[in-house]
Amino acid sequence: LQTFVGHQVLRIKTRNEEEVKKLQLLESLEHLELDFWRNPSTPAHPVDVRVPANNVQAVKAFLESYGIEYSILIEDLQVVLDQEKQDMEYNQQKDR
């Protein structure tokens, strides 16, 4: 089972087309192994991206260097997944 310890999901808010273009550039950097849950499109829509643990600093540095606003949507993805699994097990017991 693949785990996601330390993976963060960032919510990025763009202010203009220029920042959207910067995120589209980020999207094209395959070595960062980013998983865009919401792709960069227009400034009106936030972008959500899952960042593997070992690339979190690089992505944050990229955003900060361009002054692009972001927040952490999910601090540690595995914690959320563990909670989900726990909920499922609880519900299965309830079924029985």
């Binding site: 693949q2 829509h45 949507l73 079924d95 029985r96």
Partner: protein, 307 residues
């Protein structure tokens, strides 16, 4: 007892398929289960048919969870299936709808991906087909339809999460739906449930021009969004795929619209702002309830607006 199925929880594919059997058995007067094909890994693709009789009636197509990791869509579909079954004979609107039209509901559009999310990689969103000449598996099934195939917003890289596949309809999961709808020949609405970001979209995605029925689709989309909002205040943005999010080719509602199904809509379900598509199980029923109101608004319009 299968009566204990918990609609407010996430379930494995086997549990979901068992519940389809249960619904078909409990509501056998209007519900039946059909197999429309099988996935790449040979899992059956089941649709629930809601029908009060008659042959080749006009029909509404509804599918859920083409991107397998968005579990709340599959879960909502199961809840909605139960809702349709129980409302028939009780709710005059649903009763009149089913007295005139059939509903086909594909609860798990990408069963291989769904199983893979449960067993191996919770973040998986593609099919599980083998890509010739690549170490990467799978195709984004919502870039694989024959609608501007291979155009903007889809990747030609088999390792990408938005890989469009080697050719349109290369994925058996997509091809099975296409064949079913073409063979049926009388589908009047194509509704697809995705998650997340609270959007209600109509064509087009592969191009940024308005569809011929823009005014009607936009007004209907706004009415449906208003219905959704009426329950818990969840606000949906309404518009074409291209203007609402981004240009994306090979999507299902573009294919359905270009093949004569005027009422083609994609729902992106609720986003609480904390979990993305990993909504806590406690959010399933509220999501399904509000989504149902939006679906119902569209279905009523389809019922009352033959074309």
């Amino acid at each position: 007892s299968s009566n204990s199925f918990n609609f407010g929880a996430y379930h494995t594919l086997d549990e979901i398929y068992a519940e389809l059997d249960h619904l078909a058995s409990q509501y056998s007067n209007i519900v039946s289960k059909l197999q429309i094909g099988e996935s790449y890994e040979k899992r059956p693709l089941y649709v629930l048919k809601f029908s009060t009789g008659g042959s080749n009636r006009p029909a509404i197509w509804l599918d859920a969870g083409i991107h397998s990791r968005e579990w709340v869509t599959q879960a909502s579909a199961i809840w909605i299936a139960k809702k349709i079954a129980t409302d028939y004979g009780q709710d005059p609107s649903i009763t009149s709808l089913l007295n005139k039209m059939d509903i086909f509901l594909l609860t798990v559009s990408n069963p291989d991906g769904y199983v893979f999310t449960h067993t191996t990689n919770r973040m998986w969103r593609k099919t599980r087909s083998k890509n010739k000449g690549s170490v990467c598996f799978g195709v984004d099934p919502n870039r694989n339809w024959d609608a501007g195939f291979g155009g903007p917003g889809a990747s030609k890289n088999p390792c990408s999460d938005s890989y469009h596949g080697p050719s349109a309809n290369s994925e058996v999961e997509v091809r099975s739906v296409v064949n079913f709808i073409k063979n049926h020949g009388n589908v009047r609405a194509f509704l697809t449930l995705h998650s997340y970001s609270q959007l209600l979209m109509y064509p087009y995605g592969y191009k940024c021009t308005e569809p011929a029925d823009y005014a009607e689709l936009d007004a209907l989309g706004r009415a449906a969004a208003s219905s959704i909002r009426s329950l818990y205040g969840t606000t949906f943005t309404v518009g074409s795929i291209c203007t609402t999010i981004y240009q994306a080719s090979g999507g299902s509602i573009d294919w359905s619209y270009d093949n004569g199904i005027k009422y083609s809509f994609a729902f992106e379900l609720r986003d609480t702002g904390n979990y993305g598509f990993l909504l806590p199980a406690s959010q399933i029923i509220p999501t399904a309830e509000e989504t149902w109101l939006g679906l119902k608004k569209i279905m009523e319009h389809v019922r009352d607006s033959p074309y």
